[in-house]
Symmetry: C2
Subunit: 221 residues, 2 copies
Amino acid sequence: MTEIRELTVGVLGGTGAQGKGLAIRWAKAGVKVVIGSRSAERAQLAAKEITETAGGEVTGTDNVECAASSDIVLVAVPWDGHSDLLASLRDQLAGKIVIDCVNPLGFDKQGPFALPVPEGSAAQQAEALLPESKVTAAFHHVSAVLLADLSIPQVDMDVLVLGDDREATDTVRELAELVPGFRGVYGGRLRNAHQVEAFTANLIAINRRYKTHAGLKITGV
Amino acid sequence: MTEIRELTVGVLGGTGAQGKGLAIRWAKAGVKVVIGSRSAERAQLAAKEITETAGGEVTGTDNVECAASSDIVLVAVPWDGHSDLLASLRDQLAGKIVIDCVNPLGFDKQGPFALPVPEGSAAQQAEALLPESKVTAAFHHVSAVLLADLSIPQVDMDVLVLGDDREATDTVRELAELVPGFRGVYGGRLRNAHQVEAFTANLIAINRRYKTHAGLKITGV
């Protein structure tokens, strides 16, 4: 297997909180990161901000170039634009490990809830749109606030990594464990991604009730 | 609020592994437990077995009498018989806290997966069938094997308790915490129960991969 630190990690939607939070931690761990955004300028600004915070080698470009120039790609875009973006990047993402961390959620007066997804989950939608990629699902529950705050040296939680390709899930688990405190735990096949995505609604409800940034740990592993 | 140890806890489907495991721990904690089953004889046998293992005050009867004679009722029946049983117990369960721990799962060659539920989740189906009860959802992820083995003094995991009635979820959290090692954590409204039930499929996948009895903990709470 390729040494994980030699891979270039692309972050589609890397100007958003979740993508940027992970990019900060990976940059700090010495991984080469490419921030992608609809606007190359905004991506470059985010990249500059990240290197100022965390050091490392971070560049910014548009989503197409980000996908094309990376070895492994995190999809961290809003659910709204998920299918259109991935459909447009099929060629650039062919043969690569794609990590989907998108949570299809709605909000109303009673708080967060899971949106229905025709394919079953965001990750399965990615799989349907990217038949030549190795699609995994991970990083759904990470707190962007905790990740972005480097005064917190480690974020103790488990990252559930789902997928049907063993080597791909192993690589994503390794990538997770570059973040101090993270443990990558295999979480099942991609067809069981819906509940992991939707569980983010429960974590948001927990955050509101307990005034915290909740995460998960798996006991017994 | 009523002192939790003074309540009688009914366990519908208490001859099954999950119900029996919890009954053992509650009996050991000094809670009065009524085991319910389709067959009163089998329920009485299970009750005898539980008191021989754990001591305490445990009786067995049919599901109707179990529901009628208990203050708070755990629904631990197979998903197959869930709706028919609850529809038949509407009167006996009126005004009571009902705890649904049922996981609608299927299994095939690729392992476990979540079954679609027209109402959204087993817990929401219970809510629809029991309009006069306070329906909560909890204890989905507890390992029956660990619970039944009293040589394991405590089972360290969090029990997510979902529901729309604050007092009911608080009571169920207290009931959870009678089991040494369990912590009751509010997990959101009932409409977010599906993913908690379905997540049991992921835990089973984790158990298979890591040869363990996995559970959950919520960090930051």
